[in-house]
């Protein structure tokens, strides 16, 4: 599996990471950011649980974050 992004960033001078790749679809990026912000800022779960789950998921999927 590749842990290096296969897609280029929308700005060729930028580093190829999730955020810079999302620039190819601005409306999609906006919707994703809005959901992500809402998820982290509010809700039933405490931040420790959210971050523990995120880290575990990132390790299993070989995500760089």
């Amino acid at each position: 599996m590749s842990s290096t992004p296969r897609l280029d960033p929308v700005d060729p001078t930028a580093r190829s990471v999730f955020g810079s790749i999302l620039g190819h679809q601005p409306q999609l990026a906006k919707a994703f950011s809005a959901l992500y912000a809402e998820f982290w800022q509010r809700g039933e779960l405490d931040h420790i649980t959210k971050e523990t789950t995120r880290l575990r998921n990132a390790r299993i999927t070989d995500c760089g974050y």
């Binding site: 296969r6 897609l7 999302l22 679809q25 409306q27 999609l28 919707a31 809402e38 809700g43 070989d62």
Partner: protein, 138 residues
């Protein structure tokens, strides 16, 4: 509780992914917006094909249609273009074992689609896979 298909749900009052998402009501409109954006920006009929294929791979109950029947043999079916077959191949690999998606499979996508199109389709695959699995287990 039992859902409408008779399967038990571990989430009180919920029986499908949409209802489960709605249980976190503050997230529901944001999830709907994201899923709508991914679906509407995926090119041609790829969004429908991806949704159907993910549902079939995960064993989710969906209404049968002529297209879903043809999709069961997508690899050899003349119904689908080479570009559609390229995204169907990656969708299958993504759902079954995401670690096994290859550079070769990705290059096939590049032959037929622009980078924005690929991004929209893969986002749609990820969302269908995630919410489909949620529907499957919750």
């Amino acid at each position: 509780m039992a859902n409408i298909e008779g399967r038990n749900s571990w989430v009180s009052g919920a029986w499908n992914a949409s209802d489960i998402a709605s249980a976190q009501t503050h997230l529901a409109p944001f999830i709907d917006e994201l899923r709508g954006q991914a679906s509407s920006t995926a090119p041609g009929r790829t969004a429908s094909l991806i949704e159907l294929q993910v549902a079939q791979l995960l064993g989710l109950e969906r209404a049968e249609s002529a297209l879903s029947e043809k999709l069961k043999n997508w690899y050899s079916s003349p119904e689908f273009t080479d570009g559609e077959k390229a995204i169907l191949e990656i969708t299958e690999q993504f759902v079954l074992d995401v670690h096994s998606v290859t550079d070769e499979q990705f290059e096939k996508l590049r032959k037929y689609f622009s980078t924005p199109d690929i991004l929209a389709m893969l986002f749609h695959v990820a969302l269908c896979d995630g919410f489909g699995k949620l529907e499957k287990v919750a």
